[in-house]
Symmetry: C2
Subunit: 364 residues, 2 copies
Amino acid sequence: MTTETEPRRYTPESLRAQILEILGAWGMRADSAATTADIMVDTDLSAIDSHGVSMLSMYEKFLADGRLDLTAEPEVVVDGPAFAVVDGHHGLGHPTGIRSMQLAIEKARAGGIGMVVVRNSLHFGALGFYARLASEQGLLSIVTTTTRTPVTSATGGTTPILGTNPIAFSAPRVNGEPLLVDMSTSVVALNKVKAYANKGKTLPEGWVFDRAGEAVTDPSLAYDLLTKLGATISPLGGPTPETGGHKGFGLSLMSQVLSAALSNAAGPLQSGDRDNIGHFFLVIDPEALNPGGQTAENVEHLLNAMQLNENDVKVPGDPEREARRERGENGIPIPAALFTTISDIAGRASAPIVLAEIAGPTSS
Amino acid sequence: MTTETEPRRYTPESLRAQILEILGAWGMRADSAATTADIMVDTDLSAIDSHGVSMLSMYEKFLADGRLDLTAEPEVVVDGPAFAVVDGHHGLGHPTGIRSMQLAIEKARAGGIGMVVVRNSLHFGALGFYARLASEQGLLSIVTTTTRTPVTSATGGTTPILGTNPIAFSAPRVNGEPLLVDMSTSVVALNKVKAYANKGKTLPEGWVFDRAGEAVTDPSLAYDLLTKLGATISPLGGPTPETGGHKGFGLSLMSQVLSAALSNAAGPLQSGDRDNIGHFFLVIDPEALNPGGQTAENVEHLLNAMQLNENDVKVPGDPEREARRERGENGIPIPAALFTTISDIAGRASAPIVLAEIAGPTSS
């Protein structure tokens, strides 16, 4: 039986249908809406709850603000043998992201390596989805993106300038799903601060600092300040070079340059009426380098070595794979507050509610 | 006047000559020795003292152990339009690294992007040297390498399996030298633990753990254990996922896979009689993507934004550039103990001592 604290669970199919109803009512092209719904449902199945259906309220806001063009189609504006530049024309990031990753895959298959950089995009969900797409086909990939809200400062600074600028890396394994790293280059992502607030849990000392450089450990205050440029999240490694904070800062700059400097997407302090988010997709085909070779075997050996005699070790990608299995069986949990949010969005768009609770023990 | 605590300083030219005398006496090919000496001196000029002339004692040991072939030449074993595989044939890493980076640069100039992966290499100094080489010519680069000594475990594990597996990233600026990130993916590099031991400074809690998972804060004990596989250094972010340790672990895996899995260099627990270090070089030519474009301007804008109204902010590459300026003027400091080590190595090789103290105020 579902208890008070356990959210009700819904079928992935009905969540997909619900997203399609809303995107359709908003006027999104049908092919783009299908792509977007697929990615959002996969993200919720992977338990990356911050980047799936919960993002609909932000997309609704983008639409109201005139920042989002749901009729836009991504356009390849430069096309070389091993690289391309794509303009997202201010459409939602998911269709642009998929098109760009597919292009990078095609180029890697043809010539061993393919790189696509993107400008004028918007939020495209979790990077890991795109990276996994390549590695499920036996390829390696690196994906980076800029993000919209400035929350991270330079090491030694107190001004929020960079986003959480994530980096994903994936590689094929022989057995099981790919190795998949998907990480913000800040010590935590913004949504994790919110999760602490929701749980009423004090933040660790080194995570958030106000503009005077004082640590903020009250999670609600921290989240509030962060959304108003009144605080910063430390880079991965913490606030000082002592524990490697300068390395996280360096990684954040790497993500920013790859995602935006190559494609002329927006840099810090350059946002205009519309966002201009940038992405970077790099794909490598190991078969080209090493025909009949052992790259996947080498990755498999590496990950097995990490887990040899180490019962507590999970390798990157394991938790999300386990979540996809569990949620695929038991349904996707949607807390009551989120259900209300989705219902309200559907109501405003004059779309029906089609979410269906899963049949079986958890909903009996 | 030079005080007891300030090391004497020597001319870069005489340090280069000293390295050449020793490498020559060891029987290294003249062109390879010149390349190696150039890189080692630049590294000492950049104040990366752990990776310059101080490495000669390790190279001497490699030679004695039969792990190093100073007559080897790097060989291009696979050559595609946008990629290549290089076999270092167990030569010292510097000539192999330079040859590989130059090849990646040529391919990027020709087709927008170039990737070279390497096997059967050895220690090649600091990654940043190779990355900077690309960006001084207006190109972006990513360089990774495996390292010889297992010191890092998986998050949640206690077995040293991965090396400090560094990553370098560089991008051109308009004014001044390139943006240059060069970082181990462990919370600190092994030599930093040694530096704490030399200073008698207690290690921070989260850095080193023994095989039972207990923190080791005595730096001498920690260094001793680390060299005997009796302890681990935490990944960047620390020992637990709470502060992002799983991200550092993910980055370490990324460096390992790029450097070794593609080229069939050695993975964990695969060392044989000879080391089989792997490297990865990726170069991007922004002119190909965006002819007459603004990549360097975008990088310049980004770094200037980071320093706007922030007096304490240094961007990655600044400290090394400042060191090159200062040491270029005042000479390279060589502590008495290191001078003795170099003299002893020269003596064993029957090479003359040609190190010359710098003329001027600091040596008067």
